[in-house]
Symmetry: C2
Subunit: 649 residues, 2 copies
């Protein structure tokens, strides 16, 4: 009875959360990220969950500071109107990144802790590879962070590990199946696939489904003809067409190209293969795009792993592994609740690659958050890379999968990146910044604002208002920042404001929050950039010309033949996920500003059928980072007495 | 104040738990394991934790039914006397296994739910590989199970995933380091290893430790001589000596032997390598043997991964990765609390291989459980394989690491396995049992009891009383069971009792529980089988002769040279972990009963320095299982509406 009443109240009323925010007292100079994180005591996650209206049986607690949220919530709140949906994207960045994550976190800290507006940040879970490799963690930084940052950056609630397990079970199943098919007669193979258990022989559910796909409507294993036995038992995978790779969540460059199957037990069936970093798995892209357990299971089954010798696609479902993959992913589908430094709620869920996948956090986290914040609240999420890539995919792929309509785009710019676009010297990770970047130079800033203008225009193609957030560094002069804001507004931005969240927390992003709140009241006329019905090549061309500013596209013969194959296989109506460098609007990373007159070369075209997109490759994309001579791990340590983690950043 | 008082009471008093046991109503015929598991509603894990005397801040909840237990408990209860320590071992098994896990669980269900004696089962976490491959799960079976069995068999609380991550970070670090050393001058290498950060150049803590090991007591990076720079910067790993392998927790036979480094970016530094199943990682063995966070960190640093070109060992510490490994393992070190079908407590923690490692669950779980049950309570744990392997290692390796003294050995026997030892036909997984096994045959039983007698005698070598548990199958006749019990008692067992826990739950193991309780009151004079001070070869010979009944041992030249190397490197005083088949007391799996007159061949000798043992290989050991033509996953499915897992067994 109590529960029913509680449910009723929850589902009927919009209410401002009764949230206890955590006080911040920013220090100067700003301490290291891990020191800031550790200096703040997070609320117990069950307290946070209660504050934002979650019921006790809707969360699954993982330790003191993390909880998974059950999808049943969506059913309970299905009649509640959604909040406002805000995307944080960026201009074309330097290799150092321009702070989209810190802006995302700073913005929700400002909205909720300083303006008392319900808000949620929805972030990607970072790969552990870079955490121990080059880049360090990804929980934001300075006084705009998710805490505890070591929980965020390490295993979290195991989602990436679950993806690794599912991905690699499928990979093992492919090679083992090829071996077993190659070393057995049709009859032996069939007898093993459909054995008698206690004298009774029967098909399993997934085998019956395969029979029906083959047009065989029998249910008694003993009645199949020889031809039917053959069709059922042999997938006839063409090893040279296998596109499914193994994954690890470690920067292991020696696995970029390997030969497998060299033990005697594999009887000479060696082949060349590779490991990708786990977040590059199609299963990660599926996790990010799925809308329910049923939908996830269907997508997992549809994943194409190879072609058979006739050129027909072979799927995870054909290998009999759909159910097992769904079982391995049953907890990963639930978003993980954490909090910002100021005690406001955050969902961390999925972290697909931003080149061979779409680079956005999960649809499910956004959907749940939009219900929890209520009609007047805000959900702020982030798109990987520059707006030309992450935002374009967010609109054309993610919003299409979710049906959600964005209210505002926050476009993050830095004086540093704009100077680079204006002709400043190269910016390289690890090397000290040249003086052009540390001293005032209005000319470089002005020269680089063309990139900002172009990215604003890209957002406007989709009919969404843009607020420019200038992420302030201490070396930026007031005149430089003013200039950026002025040009941004002249270029069509709804507003442009400087942000100091990194050094000041949410208090440093209050103006941004106010601008976003105002922009969200604008009428929007959101539209996709292309219709799915167009031919694959036409869709690629539209993105290349309208978004990147290319003169045209040029497909290699391999790319063209893949386009033809996918079209013929019935996959022509999927959206397009461009795998392009993020360091330029063009395909050439060294071309800054707004390149023109280029022909975008498409070297190959691949497909993630389960995730539901075609991904053209613009140049080669590394899907496995490496460890440098001195990886981050040299500084990472654990105090065995206090259990404190040191050296993460 | 409240907490202090609570702590005081907890630490001063022995008390019987106020445990609410779950009622069982066993059905006949016995349903599938997953059906039995699902039909029972587990208690919320925080309720269970409270019932057994854990404080709120001593547990970290993972979902509704699992919790990690913090090691701080050991400090709080350090003055409390330990309970009785019971090891469940087995006779030489058939390939089907004889039910040690079900006996372990049945015994604690009987002790606590039927005799109101505090008890804990401490079990190994199973690998996910076999769960989707051949064997199925490992949560016990029938009415003696850990629930929910799907949680037990799947990701649990992520410990194996953490081991995989740590293991593979180290593997990636080895190959990347060799590449970087081979492609850079001493000076370039040194400048990258010790870079200037904001103009200041300094060694990290782990680099300073390496300098000290090299006898260099400088702290200013700019003062090293060229020779010192070289010594510091070059590990000079000899690639042919690398013993550290990558791991996945998937049955992936195509990774048994691979070539890595074939991408152009690795500049031709290819080499042959392999993946093992994750539970074969030395880090798993360390997790099982460690006694504290500090101890774990030291063991991780000591792991030897290769030799340098001078033949000196290269460790994880030399690679600078100790702290990062400890960070990755910081949660895995905490045992996971679950419950049996009758609501009694279980720790699931660590699951090292029983051949190349010692095959016992963790020291930490046992230690914590022994405090929690109190002086009159019982902790029941299990050793992998037959008593000749698992029990011998439990005593000589695990008890040595923990300092704990066992009170009783429960030796599990089945009529089926005894008939096999008595000359019955082959028993093969997947094939129906021959009639010798399904019909009464006292002669075969009597003939096979020699194996039981020998295993009893092995336990007696260590001075521990033995209770024989005859695990009853429905085809066993009363005369057969009586015969086994009679011979067992004649052979020196303290008692021998039939057990029906599989079909009846704890109620079917009450007699066993009573026998164990009585045996535990015997005076024991526990002793190790050999002194660590003996030479490696002598220790191997003692195990081979006294335990296996070998006439002698014979080392291959490779094995002898490894023994010499380890002795010279200072590792001669470690205990021995024999990697031998479990299907015979000898090295030949087809020799059943009690083989005599054989010379045990030692083909190679390896070392797990961090775990702390030398492991001689008796024949070849597969460290990577494969997927059969029809893996278990064909039957595994997830109901997307109810979220129920189907087909796990």
């Amino acid at each position: 009875m109590v529960k029913t009443t509680e449910r009723w109240i929850q589902s009927q009323q919009y209410r401002k959360w009764d949230l206890r925010c955590l006080k911040l007292q920013p220090l100067s100079p700003v301490p290291s990220d891990i020191e800031i994180s550790r200096a703040q005591s997070p609320k117990a996650v069950d307290v946070l969950a209660k504050e934002i209206g979650l019921l006790t049986d809707e969360i699954e607690i993982y330790g003191q500071t993390k909880a998974k949220v059950r999808l049943s919530l969506l059913e309970r709140l299905k009649d509640q109107p959604d909040g406002k949906y805000v995307l944080v994207a960026g201009i074309t960045p330097t290799p150092l990144g321009e702070g989209k994550s810190t802006v995302t976190i700073g913005l929700v800290q400002a909205l909720t802790a300083h303006l008392s507006i319900n808000s949620f940040a929805c972030l990607r879970q970072p790969s552990q590879g870079p955490t121990f490799g080059v880049k360090g963690g990804a929980a934001g930084g300075g006084y705009a962070q998710v805490i505890p940052m070591e929980e965020f950056n390490l295993h979290l609630t195991g989602d990436i590990h679950a993806i690794t397990a599912a991905n690699n079970l499928l990979a093992a199943a492919i090679d083992a199946r090829i071996l077993h098919e190659n070393t057995q007669s049709d009859k032996a193979l069939y007898n093993r696939l459909v054995p008698a258990v206690n004298g009774v022989r029967g098909f399993s559910a997934i085998q019956l489904a395969r029979l029906r796909r083959l047009g065989i409507y029998k249910t008694d294993p003993d009645t199949l003809t020889e031809e039917e036995v053959r069709k059922f038992a042999r997938l006839d995978i063409d090893p040279s067409t296998i596109t499914w790779q193994r994954v690890v969540d470690t920067n292991d460059r020696f696995l970029r190209k390997i030969t497998v199957g060299q033990a005697n037990t594999e009887k000479g069936f060696i082949r060349q293969a590779q490991f990708d970093i786990a977040v590059a798995s199609e299963i990660m892209a599926i996790l990010a795009l799925t809308t329910s357990l049923q939908d996830m299971k269907e997508r997992l089954g549809k994943m194409v792993v190879a072609n058979d010798k006739k050129g027909e696609p072979v799927t995870a479902e054909d290998l009999g592994v759909t159910g097992a993959l769904a079982v391995l992913m049953k907890d990963a589908i639930k978003p993980t609740l954490m909090q910002t430094l100021e005690g406001t709620p955050v969902f961390v869920h999925a972290g697909p690659f931003a080149n061979i996948a779409h680079g956005n956090s999960s649809v499910l986290a956004d959907k749940i958050a939009l219900k929890l914040v209520g009609e007047k609240g805000f959900v702020v999420t982030e798109a990987g890379f520059g707006a030309d890539i992450g935002m374009e995919k967010f609109f054309n792929i993610k919003c299409r999968a979710s049906g959600l309509v964005p209210s505002v785009v926050v476009l993050v710019a830095t004086v540093r990146a704009l100077k680079m676009h204006g002709g400043g010297p190269n910016v390289t990770a690890g090397a000290p910044l040249k003086k052009e970047y540390t001293e005032e130079n209005l000319q470089l800033v002005a020269g680089g604002c063309c990139n900002l203008q172009k990215q604003i225009q890209i957002a406007q193609l989709f009919g969404v208002p843009v607020v420019v957030a200038v992420n302030i560094f201490k070396t930026d002069s007031a005149a430089e920042v003013d200039l950026v804001c002025k040009i941004a507004k002249q270029s069509g931005a709804f507003d442009a404001v400087p942000c100091n969240h990194w050094s000041a927390g949410g208090g440093g992003a209050v103006k941004l929050a106010q601008a976003v709140e105002e922009a969200a009241r604008q009428k929007t006329s959101f539209k996709y950039l292309y219709s799915l019905e167009l031919p694959i090549v036409e869709k690629i061309r539209i993105i290349a010309q309208k978004v990147y500013g290319a003169q045209d596209i040029e497909l290699s013969p391999a790319a063209q033949s893949q386009v033809d194959r996918y079209t013929q296989q019935g996959f022509g109506n999927l959206p397009i996920c461009m795998a392009k460098t993020h360091l330029s609007l063009s395909h050439q990373p060294e071309r800054k500003g707004v390149p023109t007159g280029f022909i975008l070369p498409i070297s190959d075209v691949r497909a993630s059928i389960g995730a539901g997109f075609i991904y053209p490759l613009v140049g080669t994309m590394s899907t496995m980072p490496g460890l440098p001579t001195r990886p981050c791990f040299y500084d990472i340590d654990l105090d065995p007495i206090t259990e404190e983690v040191k050296g993460l950043f």
